[in-house]
């Protein structure tokens, strides 16, 4: 037989080409996209922020390595998803966090939320968000001590200051201005503060098509529309949508958390439902729940609904099925 110098020919299923974008490259892109916000946090809050980020990412990586080691499985650190979880969690923490807070949170995110459910691709809620919810429930005091970056005075996060429903004179009050919110010169968690820096990263992910534009558009669009319609004192359509978009982690949530592949629907149609649901629940919690953490719980709730969405959205194949029109 005409075997070749190299011996055996490798037989494999077509296609024999690959686009070459791997899971770890996608995770790397997400890390790159979060870098401006992370660097901004260090700039605004100083070395404490750097410490929180390092601890959270380090603990996430170590936990993943340890879990795999314990289960006798090959290390999955290479896919980079643990680092993404660590960084995302850090960006939701207060800059004045005690050192154990990010460590505990990251370990919880990886060990309980991710690995216990089967590892990457099998967790049904976003690990970073679930960990934040856990920390918030277990250590409310440590989680809500916010530092304002420039005067170093501890204040509440802007949305917590918002009375519910808004007082008519609220914008004249002690709330930060749009400009402050946009640039990040306000108090808040590490990454929630500067919409601008987050948006730079978001554009990167959109251009590289790492994230689906439907999710931020559907999420923020619903949030803006409903907060404008229902969020005002003077009746319908007197709300302040811009404020709702810029404050309280909506940008971070819509571009970086709700777009998490694993915990969102897989179809474009499902993603619209998911995104609109996130926006709707955020508004409901913010306006009627008397609670500033709308984004967090909205995404977590929609994560839980995702398997249902994916179950019921089965698009018809191209051309329809013969005889069933």
């Amino acid at each position: 037989m005409a075997k070749t110098e190299s011996g055996e020919l490798l037989v494999a299923s077509s296609p024999h080409l690959w686009a070459g974008v791997s899971t770890s490259q996608i995770m790397r892109d997400v890390l790159i996209a979060l870098a401006p916000a992370a660097l901004g946090a260090v700039y605004f809050f100083g070395w404490r922020a750097a410490l929180v980020i390092a601890l959270s990412m380090g603990a996430a990586a170590l936990t993943e390595w340890g879990c795999m080691r314990l289960m006798g499985k090959p290390s999955t650190l290479g896919d980079g998803s643990a680092l993404v979880t660590g960084l995302l969690l850090a960006l939701t923490l207060p800059p004045a966090s005690p050192v154990w807070l990010p460590v505990l949170g990251a370990a919880f995110a990886i060990a309980v939320v991710k690995v216990a459910f089967g590892g990457l691709g099998h967790n049904f809620v976003n690990p970073a968000l679930a960990a934040r919810a856990f920390l918030l429930a277990a250590f409310p005091a440590a989680m809500t001590t916010w530092t304002s970056p420039f005067d170093a005075v501890t204040t509440a996060t802007p949305l917590a200051v918002l009375p519910t429903p808004f007082a008519p004179d609220v914008l004249a009050g002690p709330l930060p201005s749009y400009r402050d919110l946009f640039l990040g010169t306000v108090g808040g968690s590490l990454g929630e503060t500067s919409a601008l820096l987050l948006l730079i990263g978001a554009v990167y992910l959109l251009v590289k098509r790492v994230i689906d534009w439907r999710i931020p558009v559907g999420f923020l669009g619903t949030l803006a529309l409903l907060s404008w319609a229902l969020g005002g004192q003077a009746g319908l359509f007197t709300g302040d949508p811009l404020y709702h978009l810029l404050a309280g982690g909506a940008i971070l949530g819509a571009f970086f958390m709700a777009t998490d592949y694993v915990t969102g629907p897989i179809t474009p149609q499902g993603r619209w439902i998911f995104a609109v649901g996130c926006g709707l629940i955020t508004v409901l919690i913010r306006l009627y729940g008397g609670y500033p953490e709308g984004v967090l719980f909205a995404i977590l709730l929609m994560n839980v609904v995702t398997p249902l969405i994916d179950r019921f959205i089965v698009p018809a194949p191209f051309g329809g099925v013969k005889g069933r029109a």
Binding site: V11, A12, S14, P15, S22, G121, D212, V321
Partner: protein, 445 residues
């Protein structure tokens, strides 16, 4: 170019059409050819010759009286040295006639008379054309291998009004149809007219991807002045050449899942099949040769006109031999082609390309978990959910696979191509399809 002529999904693999400017060359005559008795979809042919028989070029060596079939002809003159099972590039082992070539080719004296290149398709009886097309052994030469005459036979209730010639050649690395359209455009256009006459269609469209402007220009010149014919330039996008995508792009008609183009009044044939039909009618010669692109890790990649049955080994040598280690041999294109376990397999009617890859060309990254990124969903031109299909197949949940329309998959490979986790999507879908097919036939084991 009609920019609206787009289908949903699809991918943009690197074209790699490095052999596009390599004119077709004749292959040095092979010493022996291996002609499988089934080079088409349908019933296998029975051998018409036996070991020791002398055969002449173009002599039928296998045929069968079945509605879906196509005869096989000797591609060289010579002596039958064996009729035995042989590995085919389709991956199956089939009965094959092995012919040792004589020093010279002598055309078989039983060949039907040619009508000459100035024949007028309109003066011919449609049944006569279909008969000649079948006699010449024509099958879909783009890869599917469906007997051409069967496609041209109108069915009660669905008379075709359009014939589409597929000149998209959307697979990377293949240029054999490109060269054919460039070098024998008259044959392609005559073939189109013959097909239209044979099935009663009044319109003929040749679809060519925009990366072959020279071929499109040549064909356009030839059809100018005939209002029934047109050449459409299509955006470059894989799998533009898939029948359903092509019909949609050109006519905005959607072929239903489980249906064929005829259901929407269309007959689709490959450009090479059309050219072969023109030769069969004009010169009386059956299908014995075809153009094959040889590319990859060879010294001089190019396009060759080769006798059917030629071994891939002869092609490799004609292309100057290997330039490095060989790791994979593909019959067909890199997206849908079949990896061969051995280099000694014959070129058959559907082999438009042979690609020889080295270890450096393979992406043997191990599969990771599905990260539910949805890339496969966006890429699937059939609007399926490959990740879910793969899941169902791996759980042997055939009913779920069916609910997710697994049968609609045309195995184009777009999903696997984009999957960042290297999931075995097409592979598992194929498994589910064959399992469901087996069950539908009532098989158990």
């Amino acid at each position: 170019m009609n920019l609206w002529a787009r289908f949903r999904g699809g991918v943009h693999p690197d074209a790699r059409k490095t052999t596009a400017q390599c004119a077709t060359q004749p292959l040095p005559r092979p010493e022996r050819v291996v002609l499988p008795l089934r080079q088409h979809i349908g019933a296998p042919c029975q051998p018409l010759v036996k070991k020791g028989d002398e055969v002449a070029l173009g002599q039928p060596i296998g045929d069968v009286d079945a509605p879906v079939s196509a005869p096989v002809h000797a591609s060289v003159s010579g002596k039958v040295v064996a009729v035995e099972p042989r590995l085919t590039p389709g991956g199956r082992t089939e009965q094959a006639v092995v012919i040792e070539a004589a020093p010279e080719d002598v055309p078989w004296e039983g060949l039907p008379e040619g009508l000459g290149w100035d024949l007028d398709p309109e003066s011919l009886d449609p049944a006569f054309i279909r008969d000649r097309v079948r006699q010449a052994g024509l099958v879909g030469m783009g890869g599917a291998g469906f007997p051409a005459a069967v496609k041209l036979t109108p069915r009660p209730g669905s008379e075709p009004d359009v014939v589409i010639l597929n000149g998209a050649e959307c697979e990377p690395a293949i240029t054999s149809d490109h060269r054919l359209m460039l070098e024998q455009p008259e044959q392609v256009v005559l073939g189109l007219r013959l097909f239209m006459r044979a099935c009663g269609a009044r319109r003929g469209v040749i679809g060519v991807e925009a990366n072959k402007p020279d071929a499109a220009a040549k064909l356009s010149q030839l059809v100018a002045g005939d209002p029934a014919l047109s050449v459409e330039v299509l955006p470059v996008r894989y799998p533009q050449g898939a029948e359903k995508m092509l019909v949609w792009a050109l006519l905005r008609r959607a072929v239903p899942v489980g249906g064929i183009p005829l259901d929407v009044g269309v007959v689709v044939q490959n450009v090479a099949t059309a050219a072969a039909a023109a030769v069969a009618l004009a010169e009386g010669r059956p299908l014995t040769h075809r153009i094959v692109t040889v590319s990859g890790r060879v010294a001089s990649p190019g396009n060759w006109r080769v006798p059917l049955g030629t071994s891939f080994v002869d092609l490799m040598q004609a292309a100057g031999g290997l330039t490095g280690a060989l790791a994979r041999v593909i019959a067909g294109g890199p997206m849908m082609g079949i990896a061969q376990p051995d280099l000694d397999v014959p070129v058959i009617k559907t082999t438009g390309s042979v690609i020889l890859l080295g270890p450096e060309d393979l992406h043997e990254t191990p599969a990771g978990p599905c990260i539910r990124c949805g890339r496969c969903v966006t890429a699937c031109p059939m609007g399926l959910l490959p990740a879910q299909l793969c899941d169902a197949a791996m759980a042997s949940d055939w009913a779920r696979a069916e609910r997710f329309h697994v049968r609609a998959c045309m195995e184009c490979g777009s999903c696997s191509y984009v999957c960042p986790a290297r999931r075995p999507l097409v592979q598992s879908i194929r498994l589910a399809k064959s399992e469901l097919g087996r069950r539908a036939r009532g098989g158990r084991g």
